[in-house]
């Protein structure tokens, strides 16, 4: 316990030294900035910072990294909200309600909700991390392939609830999204599937290509039609951060729920912020009394995924710090960064170097606070992006998407794919096929297939493996329930409406 207190104190000492504060500030600033650049998220931001921290005092470097990390996560939401162009996968769900809200002229408010939700999610989950990290390491490894399969199944049952009108169309969207993710080399067999002999397709299609195509480019089509409309009356109003008491009340629910839910999902290696944000969004919509508001600028719908993806990012530190297992792409890069600083994360980190462990946690906490302090005053300026005249804004959204894809793949092939998905997304919107089920199936489907087949290989082809594993069994039951409930609800609704009509 001495180590713990010493660690926290030394962490605080570093973070509150003049240098510490300076570095956190710089980190948050750079992180936000990089996060706002197309295609660059926390992974690239940290990777870029690694050579810079080379040779720095590890404690200071960690503080800097934490600032960059949180900054980049927040920066990613801005493009989601303002341009419907999610720069990273964790902020796709943010755009569902953030973008409509911004389009209603409340961009500043949307950004403020995102920032506060991020802060709350980050803060609560860091506290959870501090209190429970030592005991949570066993949770992190409790999920075997059958349990992952069941978790993905649970996520997919939510497709029906993501649809606006026709459930049938939502299912079709989902099946096609699932089909798209089967493209590429199959990890279990090494078989190249649906690549048509092209090396460009061997690794499958990148998530960002789909997200930017279906959301940002498809939206461009509709923006063009409305290009002469002047929605954005004046800059002051757009940038206004004013939150009503009602908004605050609406945010409190999601903050409480999803900082815990996101944290738990984040702990599971391989699940991560994207899946957490989607599951939170869906859950929030499910339990909401006014689900029809979702997708049209709902405060809860914006808050839930933002709380969740930040909580999940803290959760991902549990396996990293307690076991040395990087559960996500971001923590994998973080592991690299720690290695360069001469810190070897592993099961013994907490006993060997408690000061590092607590230093990381304290710096995350500080990074989080500074992010809020720094960003709230900037929001009015960031929101002004929307006052750019429509024709130019449209050109820039297109460039944002193109550069976003190019800066991760460096391949024009992926740009043609982006364009193709833009056209597909536009047509889908035109004919009322919802895009969220497509993207959800794309995210969950790949993992679901792999964990299903891993399980079957392990069990030598017996389905019993899914019922012998307690977690898997519980999750499968839950999926059945969540699948059956809306049908029952629908049935009741129909009956009651039939009654009133007839």
């Amino acid at each position: 316990m001495d180590g713990v207190m010493d660690g926290i104190i030394s962490g605080l000492q570093v973070a509150f030294s003049l240098q510490g504060i300076l570095f956190v500030l710089i980190g948050v600033f750079i992180g936000t900035f990089i996060g706002m650049l197309p295609g660059l998220g926390p992974i690239s931001a940290i990777a870029i910072m690694i050579p810079i921290t080379y040779g720095m005092d590890p404690a200071l470097a960690l503080v800097l990294m934490a600032g960059v990390y949180y900054g980049a996560v927040f920066g990613g939401s801005t493009s989601s909200i303002l341009l419907n162009a999610p720069g990273i996968s964790g902020t796709v769900a943010t755009s569902f309600d953030g973008y409509p809200m911004a389009q209603q002229g409340k961009a500043g408010k949307a950004l403020a909700i995102a920032a506060i939700s991020s802060f709350a999610g980050g803060t609560i989950s860091v506290v959870l991390l501090m209190v429970f990290a030592p005991v949570l390491s066993s949770v992190a490894i409790s999920f075997g392939p059958p349990a992952y399969f069941a978790l993905m199944l649970l996520g997919l049952t939510a497709i029906a609830s993501l649809s606006e009108g026709s459930t049938l169309k939502a299912l079709i969207s989902a099946v096609i999204g699932f089909m798209v993710v089967t493209i590429g080399i199959d990890p279990q067999t090494g078989t190249a599937r649906f690549t048509f002999g092209s090396a460009n397709l061997l690794d499958g299609i990148d998530f960002l290509v789909i997200a930017l195509g279906l959301f940002a480019l498809a939206e461009v089509g509709f923006l063009i039609m409305n290009r002469k409309e002047k929605i954005m009356k004046n800059a002051k109003e757009i940038g206004s951060l004013k939150l009503t008491k009602q908004d605050a009340r609406e945010m409190s629910g999601p903050i409480g729920r999803h900082s815990i839910l996101g944290f738990i999902i984040g702990i599971l290696p391989g699940a991560g912020a994207t899946i957490a944000s989607f599951i939170s969004y869906i859950t929030e919509k499910r339990i909401s009394k006014k689900p029809e508001e979702f997708g049209k600028g709902s405060v809860k719908g914006l808050s839930a995924p933002e709380v969740s993806n930040n909580a999940a990012t803290s959760g991902a530190f549990v396996p990293l710090l307690s076991l040395g297992i990087p559960g996500s792409g971001t923590t994998a890069v973080m592991l690299g960064a720690l290695l360069v600083l001469g810190i070897q994360p592993g099961p013994l980190l907490m006993t060997d170097h408690p000061e590092v462990f607590w230093g990381v946690i304290v710096s995350m906490y500080i990074g989080n606070i500074f992010l809020l302090i720094l960003n709230l005053p900037l929001i009015p300026y960031i929101a002004r992006v929307l006052t750019i005249p429509r024709p130019m804004l449209i050109s820039m959204v297109i460039m944002f998407s193109v550069i976003g894809v190019y800066s991760i793949s460096f391949n024009t092939f992926d740009l043609y794919l982006l364009l193709a998905f833009g056209v597909i997304g536009f047509l889908m919107r035109m004919f009322a096929f919802p895009a969220p089920p497509f993207i959800l199936a794309f995210i969950l489907g790949g993992m679901m297939e792999q964990s299903f087949r891993q399980s079957m290989t392990i069990s030598n082809g017996s389905f019993m493996i899914f019922f012998e594993n307690k977690i898997a069994l519980a999750l499968i039951m839950l999926s059945l329930l969540s699948f059956a409930y809306p049908i029952y609800q629908n049935y009741r609704k129909k009956r009651s409406s039939a009654n009133t009509e007839g």
Binding site: I43, I52, G190, A199, D203, I325, L348, I408, N411, I458
Partner: protein, 341 residues
Amino acid sequence: MRKFLTLSLFVMMALFMAACGNDESSGGDSSSDGDASGEWEPGQSIEIVAPAGAGGGWDTTARMAAQVFQEEGIISEDIGVVNKPGGGGAVGWAYIANQEGSNHNLFVSSSPILLVPLSGNSEYGHEDFTPIANVIADYGAFAVSKDAPWESLNELFEDMKEDPSSITVVGTSSPGSMDHIQFVRFAKAAGIDITKIKYVSAPDADGITQLLNGSADVFSTGVGEVIEQARAGNIRVLAVTSEERLDGEVLSTFPTAKEQGIDEVFINWRGFFGPPGMDQAAVDYYEAKFKELSDSEAFAEVRANYGWDEMYMGSEEYKQFLDDEKENLKSLLEELNLLGK
């Protein structure tokens, strides 16, 4: 927005100068070449391609090599690292193959350049390029959970011979690629029917998770992935794939397969290549420069940080090594029926 861009740019510049004052000085004149180490000298900036995304092994190697080349003044021309991810390397190789005859394009590669073409997923293999030098090596390891009944590789292999369906091997990559092949190679040397091995591929960090929670029995991976878990006593490393025991406090406690009577070695080498038809003079130049890099103290420090081993091979030796290795791998894949058409 523009205001914000320029403002941020300004802050970043300031930080760059503060954090690493010497970082910005790479531009400017390049005429300070002291020693003439060959007849050919690069006349423009050099591009090193990492046929993978940022942050992976190839990318790190390329960036670290470029950094040491410049900081130590081994090469004074600018060196840029370009990422060409896709197809497990195939996209990058296709890109390099188009630079035929260029003396200013290099790329980094390792075993996949042998394995990916063998499985039929790349038109180009190592024989299409110009091997320049190998610089580093790391090794594979086979680990089991601390509660597993096997104390040595032989005990594991005995049980696998009796009932192969009861033992699951997990690795990070798909069948026919490194983690799978390294295990198959040792299993074959021990006389196991390699078509019966039950192999599961778990991308990212899932492999170690599956070993720790008992979903899988054996983890076939790089030695760097198991050190910390072994030190904590969560897992037991049955064997490493190197010729001799490795150096290091924990590393030296891992037995080699060889000392357990299984005469097989697997090296995950990593080195640099040029495009097809690179001039011999340029090859000689780079070969010498990579030798200098490999011998430098700065690069030794990089190796130590990342847990890489030194393994220098010049162009000729490298080519021979790659040819032999490919033959070896080809027969394994043939037996597993994984050879591409």
